[in-house]
Amino acid sequence: MTEWQRLPGYVSHRDGPEMPTVTVETERIREACEHARDELGFDVCVDLVATDYLGWGGKGVSGYIGTASGRDLMHPMTQGLQTLPELKPKRFSISYHLLALRQGAPRARLRCWVDEGERVPSVISVWPTCDWHEREQYDLMGIVFDGHPNLERLLMPEDWEGHPLRKDYPIGGEPVRFTDEE
């Protein structure tokens, strides 16, 4: 049993090159963050970021990739062979990048998954710094954080429609003012 399995709502964890990714149940993310701060010593939430996986793996990725030792012919992504990236459980992932201010600077990524229309508990009460981070992800990605006292748009204008960082939001999709059609 690792220290991660004691997190409230623990689902799974995977080691990464720079930090482990620990998936927890969405409803218990606030408790998990509190546990990470108080029991595991992760003092700082450096970043909170949501990713939209709409259309992820929709088309195969082929082509060659470079490695330190040159072209790897046996790699599944080498030219000609199509691979599909690993499928994701839900549309949006929300990652909390945590940092412990101690020797070795341990980091961890808490992760929860939501679909369109689902809500995430706010973690402002654990880390006040998440105030603007949550507002930014609400603004650009349309994630609703339950319990945020001031969940308004942050970077886009107040009357903006849509959430620009979503994959179904086109580039150049904003309405053009003062055209003939208007």
Binding site: V49, G57, T67, D131, P149
Partner: protein
């Protein structure tokens, strides 16, 4: 100003002082909004003033909605987003190769450091090895860039508090730095010199002596600054004890970099989570316990001296690396040398493929952080195995620094507001992205 350091009272070692004030000053309802006290709310005496977005001392387009009771600041709420340009969205539609231009324009004062964090993230996903000469040169340029950024901070914040000569002095040295940048990269700012795999070009011959001249001169310049400001009664009055942020509040608000170190937290990613070759150079991390505007100024001033030391050590190494490669020799990622295009079919194909289609990055996600002049600058990158990033996100230190405005502005006067906002050293391009 006492520079005595109290012994750590907490179980965690980096906090060297947390006695700036008792308890927490973070506003309780919304952490980034200072609400007008209930007793004052209905009185006729509270005046709401818009500070910015077009105000010279907001360093760009920051807007603060300030509630004033006489000269006292009783309420404040920051409005950002006036410089939102959608960098993250734009980068999703550009190949990694073209994306190099974007991060340097996010934090347009600390451009080298922001460019670095992006190429490091891509390189780590590619598991690409970078030649040691490129790594040393990246360090050198990042430290010059740190000096550049702190000079802009120092010059402009002093200017806002009335010390106009400081501005000319700082921009004199900044000009030397921009000339150095032009000499080595061809551009004064936003250089695109860091490429995935190394550097765009070899270091030109004349760079080292010119850079030596600069590092020999810089300590004298720092003495000049200290001479102008450090015994200046007005400067001390305007900065000491103003805009105090305690160590615990700074950590809770996610602060990093000079703001954190000025609040008595001994934390620097260059030393505590070394990247590049920072573990091979000798430098100190300045920490001041007071948490006020003066402490933030002193941290940056001392950091310039330390950066000068690092630059000198980088020069010592680089001068002995003449003729060594400056970019990785991986033809699937790095453009082939120009002269090969005329003689080698393979190189021509590689060049064509890289420029039109870009290189592919293996599926995965990564978060890379570096110590930029403003604090922890991070890049979160998700790749689906294609030639364009699936999602890219930048952790902007200025964005986080501005979250502390409400806490710092508790019990201050309107004139102090300028000093406090300046001391947080937010670059609006970085904040709004």
């Amino acid at each position: 100003m006492s520079s005595t350091v109290t012994p750590p009272t907490s179980r965690r070692w980096p906090i060297v002082a947390d006695d700036q004030y008792d308890g927490s000053r973070i506003p309780s309802r919304v952490p980034t909004v200072l609400d007008v006290p209930a007793a004052l709310r209905d009185s006729e005496d509270v005046l709401q003033v818009n500070f910015g977005p077009n105000h010279p001392s907001t360093h760009g387009v920051l807007r603060l909605i300030v509630d004033l009771h006489g000269e006292e600041v009783v309420g404040v709420s920051a409005v950002i987003g006036y410089l939102h340009t959608g960098f993250e969205k734009s980068m999703e539609s550009k190949t990694y190769w073209k994306g190099v231009t974007f991060p340097e324009r996010i934090d347009y004062v600390g451009y080298q450091n922001n460019g670095l964090v992006y190429v490091l993230a891509v390189e780590q996903l590619l598991e690409l090895e970078v030649p040691t000469k490129a790594t040393w040169m990246r360090m050198l340029l990042c430290e010059l860039n740190r000096i550049h950024s702190h000079l802009v901070f120092l010059g402009t914040s002093a200017l806002e508090l009335g010390a106009i000569s400081m501005f000319w002095y700082c921009f004199r040295e900044r000009e030397m730095l921009l000339d150095l940048s032009e000499l080595v990269t061809g551009q004064r700012m936003h250089t695109r010199y860091f490429q995935v795999g190394g550097l765009a070009e070899d270091i030109p011959r004349g760079f080292f002596p010119e850079c030596r001249k600069f590092v020999d001169w810089m300590p004298h310049a720092l003495d000049d600054y200290k001479g102008i400001l450090d015994r200046n009664e007005i400067w001390l009055e305007r900065t000491q004890g103003v805009g105090v942020l305690s160590a615990r509040d700074a950590i809770a608000l996610g602060q990093s970099g000079p703001t954190l170190r000025a609040s008595g937290v001994d934390w620097d990613l260059r030393r505590d989570q070394p990247y590049l070759h920072y573990d091979q150079v000798d430098f100190q991390v300045p920490v001041y316990p007071a948490g006020d505007v003066y402490a933030r100024y002193r941290v940056r001033l001392d950091e310039m001296a330390e950066s000068t030391k690092i630059v000198r050590q980088c020069l010592d190494k680089l001068e002995r690396m003449d003729g060594m490669p400056w970019i990785a020799d991986d033809r699937k990622v790095v453009l082939p040398p120009r002269e090969e295009l005329h003689t080698s079919m393979e190189s021509l194909i590689h060049h064509f493929k890289l420029v039109t289609e870009g290189f592919r990055v293996p599926e995965g996600e990564i978060y890379v952080a570096v110590e930029s002049p403003r604090g922890e600058s991070g890049c979160y990158l998700v790749s689906d195995g294609g030639p364009k990033p699936w999602r890219i996100h930048f952790r902007a230190p200025s964005f986080v620094a501005l979250e502390a405005t409400a806490t710092c502005l508790e019990n201050t006067l309107v004139a102090d507001l300028i000093a406090v906002v300046g001391s947080l050293d937010a670059v609006m391009g970085d904040t709004d992205r």
